[in-house]
């Protein structure tokens, strides 16, 4: 039996839409440690047209700080490590730099099968180009109009859902016919595939109907009954399609694949893997969430009872997608989170400038706030899409609120690189509105996706890197649920830490930050009043628990759930400013 090669050094890379991040892990005194990291603009576009170039640029920064040489003069990575700090033993990459899969969804009922198909598509990097629903809403569409819609959208795939198991056949088959016809009208080289994920009893007829006019694959019915959803098979098909049609076609992908024993993965998939891995290390009665806000996409990964639910908005990040969002939903969607007046036109101007220069960063505080406002909306929008597909079980005491989460892992430059940690914490609290007691963990180095791969192939290394401080605690949050008059005391908190202690009374509507730095622990005694629920077993239940400090301290978010945002513009801006001050932002 071959002896396993020892791995003393690992190079991890994440090729994002805008930036490529590289991290060097090394065994130091028998334990893996994060040694150095580098970052450079991604090089998918002209003049580079090669993702490997961006990796080399990012690794150059590591070379400069460590003296290690990574590449042969030919540009190939030196693997395994040679004497004299040359090369590395292992390499792993995650990639989100490719164009999302362009999808047209077709189904019978917008709120049922189409909605499930939408969640299936959100399991991979995708953009929904058009939705065809046969439920007569908005007047429905004639076959000719449907064919035109598909033809104009020029998608990579048409995902057809619809029909509960054993349900009506004709409406589903007419969608299949329209999709096939539209597909056959598109030139062979760009002809979209068909994915049938509807009533499985129609499969045979669908196969016959499509014939050789289009390429067809089938998946399990995404909506087998009115109340049941089954996305696994359709998600796998779409994800595979994304990898084949988009990821593997990135310029330079093949060269990068050769450096790695494990094929480069979509960033969101690896991110989800890490979140699932972290769930095993925490309180399994609760869920765990992972949020990754990128320049062009937003990922929400949730794990309940060990099951992972990954949802990606492949068309909405803090750089790309913002302009379309305000065009569709109005600028106030974003400006409502700003502490100062910013007109709709000015907002649009700032969003266009971000797209023109995607690698640039805000130097003006108003532009910084806009980025954070966009992050809030990107998370909220993705969450809205994700939540109906979750199965949180006992972790969800209130159906209309977020389930109880032990930990929320937060990543993406907009959150990891805020000037003050309170801004990142407030962005997450506003966007997610967690309940009970939750720890916010910040992925400051953008390591989470790559560690997802490491956790798969070398779990010990992932644990050691996590233990060595790859992530930092952003805050511990206590968010009571209940109703009271504004200002009325709803919670008494008594904290003991080291040799100190303090007590504080929390009024309804307060956002209180108590100093508890990272590395410090405290025992919290929480005594809710007026039947408020702090996640200790139900309304009015008090208890003690040990919590960890964070960069933003211990935050008592008693603003209420769901969060109330004043309708009056001036009051709202003053409220936003107050909350920013409260968290030290």
């Amino acid at each position: 039996m071959a002896e396993e090669q020892p791995i003393g050094s690992i190079l991890l890379v994440d090729c994002g839409t805008v930036m490529t991040k590289a991290t060097l892990l090394e065994q130091v005194a028998g334990q893996y440690r994060l040694v150095a990291r580098g970052e450079a603009p991604t090089t998918v576009e002209y003049p580079w047209s090669d993702i490997a170039a961006g990796i080399r640029h990012a690794v150059d920064h590591i070379s400069a700080s460590t003296g290690r040489r990574f590449f042969e003069p030919s540009g190939d990575l030196i693997i395994p490590e040679l004497r004299g700090q040359q090369g590395i033993d292992a390499f792993a990459a995650t990639v989100s730099a490719s164009q999302p899969l362009q999808v047209v969804l077709a189904g019978l009922v917008r709120d049922l099968s189409v909605s499930s198909a939408e969640r299936a598509a959100a399991g991979t990097y995708s953009t929904i180009k058009a939705i065809l629903a046969n439920d007569g809403r908005d007047g429905g569409q004639s076959e000719g109009a449907s064919v035109h819609t598909i033809h104009d959208a020029a998608p990579d795939v048409i995902c057809i859902a619809g029909g509960v198991e054993g349900g009506a056949a004709e409406p589903v088959l007419s969608l299949v016919e329209a999709a096939t016809l539209a597909s056959s009208l598109i030139e062979q080289s760009t002809r979209p595939r068909l994915l049938f994920a509807g009533n499985s009893r129609l499969r045979q007829r669908v196969v016959q109907m499509v014939g050789k006019r289009a390429e067809l694959s089938v998946a399990d019915n995404v909506r087998p009954t009115r109340t049941e959803e089954n996305l696994l098979s359709a998600r796998a098909e779409l994800d595979q399609l994304y990898v084949q049609e988009k990821l593997e076609r990135l310029p330079g992908f093949e060269a990068v694949s050769k450096w790695s024993a494990v094929a480069p993965k979509p960033t969101a998939r690896a991110f989800g893997q890490l979140v699932q891995y972290l769930w095993r290390l925490g309180d399994s009665s609760k869920g765990i969430l992972g949020i990754d806000v990128g320049a062009a996409s937003t990922t929400v990964a949730a794990v309940f009872d060990g099951r992972l639910f990954t949802t990606i908005r492949g068309d909405l990040g803090v750089t790309f997608g913002g302009e379309r969002m305000i065009q569709e939903h109005g600028a106030e969607t974003v400006t409502r989170w700003l502490p100062e007046p910013v007109s709709a036109d000015e907002t649009r101007g700032m969003l266009i400038n971000k797209v023109i220069r995607p690698t640039s960063i805000p130097q003006d505080v108003r532009e910084l706030w806009l980025d954070q406002a966009l992050a809030r909306e990107a998370i909220r929008t993705t969450l809205e899409l994700a939540r109906p597909g979750w199965e949180p079980g006992a972790a969800q005491p209130y159906p209309h609120l977020l389930p109880l989460c032990d930990t929320i892992v937060v990543g993406g430059s907009v959150l990891a690189h805020t000037p003050r940690p309170g801004q990142a914490a407030l962005t997450v609290l506003d966007a997610l509105e967690p309940i009970g007691v939750t720890t916010l963990v910040l992925d400051t180095h953008g390591l989470a996706p790559a560690l997802g791969i490491v956790a798969e192939v070398k779990p010990l290394a992932a644990v050691e890197v996590l233990d060595s401080g790859a992530f930092v605690n952003l805050a511990t949050v206590v968010a009571p649920v209940g109703h009271a008059r504004r200002g009325e005391t709803i919670l008494r908190v008594h904290a003991t830490y080291g040799e100190g202690k303090f007590s504080v009374e929390i009024g309804y509507g307060d956002l209180e930050v108590l100093p508890l730095p990272p590395g410090q622990q405290a025992v919290l005694e929480l005594r809710p009043l007026h039947n408020f629920d702090v996640g200790l077993g139900g309304p009015g239940k008090a208890g003690k628990l040990r919590v960890n400090g964070g960069l933003a301290g211990l935050i008592i978010d008693a603003r209420g759930r769901p969060l109330h945002i004043p309708g009056n513009t001036e009051q709202r801006q003053s409220q936003m400013q107050q909350w920013l001050w409260d968290v030290g932002g």
Binding site: T17, A40, P41, T43, E45, Y46, P47, W48, H57, D60, H61, Q99, S142, E143, G144, V147, H151, E177, L181, L185, E187, A296, F320, D345, E346, R348, G349, M350, I352, N353, V355, I356, R357, P358, T359, S360, I361, P362, Q363, D364, V365, E367, L368, H417, T418, P419, R420
Partner: protein, 357 residues
């Protein structure tokens, strides 16, 4: 090493541009031919529109019975208004073709009619010499045109392609282009402004049928209007009121009165396209080829700062500090010290520095 974003501002270079057909077609010029902007250099036939005619529904009969009433078959040419299906004699129900085209399929009670292909003429868009004809597997895709000239890349644009005489209406990069400055002599020209233009100026330019506008900035309120203009508008710095960068302004001023080609096509991802102004020039000797982007940022580089509060300022990199520094928002970043002609150099994040090459 940091590899910054780059913008081309070249006073004299050998400009080479590919002119591509949207589909394979025929090329009407040969290598060495001199071409002019309006000249058609290649041609292609593009697929026409299509229509699914629901014959069974229109005749109010089941799909299974429709064949006996259909008067056309796949492959038949049809004219707009031609009867393609008819039921009954005295008070017959008829279905007619919606346009001229060809029947390409029928079945399920429907007829698919595809319109005749539409002709697409590719024009040269610039003065120059054909340096290559692009073909693959015996199919022609386009040509490469080459000319000595100046190039300025823009940051944002709306509209398509155009050409005309450059007419500079600003005296400084900070001037705002007002309607009064646009006189009837502006008809058919490409106007060059400073930091932006007014709503009235935009309307006046439209009325006088100018062929293009090049400005430093554009107020966000004017973006929707700019997107509807019948001519291209190129913004060199970004959205907002931003003075045009000195090097760009002076290059355009110097070429006031020369003919220029303006390309308003812009794509920010998945095959980036940037708007540009090309000014062909006579040259006794062949100027150097366009400098390829992709060099690391170094001391002495001519750069433009791209984010507020320094957006549009141009200067020279005088230092690349090793350590990160705090910027206006409070974050610490690596940056460059840029001499913009003020008392002290400005420290700007590397991410917000763009090389002008």
């Amino acid at each position: 090493m940091y590899y910054p974003f780059e913008t081309q501002v070249a006073p004299l270079t050998t400009v080479r541009r590919r002119r591509m057909l949207p589909a394979p077609g025929t090329v009407g010029v040969r290598i060495g031919d001199q071409v002019e902007p309006p000249q058609v250099i290649a041609h292609a036939e593009l697929p026409g529109d299509f229509r699914i005619v629901p014959v069974a529904r229109l005749l109010d009969i089941p799909a299974s019975r429709v064949n006996r009433y259909i008067r056309v078959k796949p492959g038949d040419d049809v004219q707009e208004g031609q009867v393609i299906a008819k039921r009954g004699r005295l008070f017959a129900s008829t279905v007619t073709s919606p346009f001229d085209g060809m029947v390409t399929a029928s079945g399920g009670g429907r007829i698919l009619i595809e319109a005749h292909p539409t002709a697409f003429d590719l024009r040269a868009h610039m003065y120059g010499t054909v340096s290559n004809v692009l073909q693959q597997h015996g199919q022609y895709y386009g040509v490469v045109i080459e000319t000595p000239g100046a190039v300025v890349q823009g940051a944002w644009s709306a509209g398509e392609e155009s050409f005309g005489v450059l007419k500079c209406l600003a005296e400084t990069p900070n001037d705002l282009l007002e309607a009064e400055a646009i006189d009837p002599a502006s008809h058919g020209t490409i106007l060059v402004g400073g930091r932006g233009l007014s709503d009235a100026a935009l309307e006046r330019a439209r009325q006088l049928q100018v062929r293009g506008i090049v400005v430093g900035g554009l107020s966000p309120e004017l973006v929707p209007q700019a997107e509807q203009l019948p001519f291209p508008i190129i913004v060199t710095e970004g959205i907002g009121v931003v003075p045009m960068s000195g090097p760009i302004f002076h290059l355009l001023m110097k070429n006031d009165g020369r003919e220029a080609s303006v390309n308003g096509h812009m794509q920010t991802r998945w095959g980036i396209m940037r708007p540009e102004v090309i000014i062909p020039m006579p040259a006794d000797t062949v100027p150097p080829a366009e400098r390829q982007p992709g060099a690391p940022l170094g001391i002495g580089a001519r750069v433009r700062l791209v984010r507020t509060p320094h957006a549009g300022k141009v200067g020279t990199v005088v230092a690349l500090p090793v350590h990160a520094r705090r910027i206006e928002t409070g974050i610490r970043v690596h940056g460059a010290e840029v001499d913009v002609g003020q008392e002290a150099p400005i420290f700007a994040p590397l991410a917000n520095v763009e090389v002008l090459r």
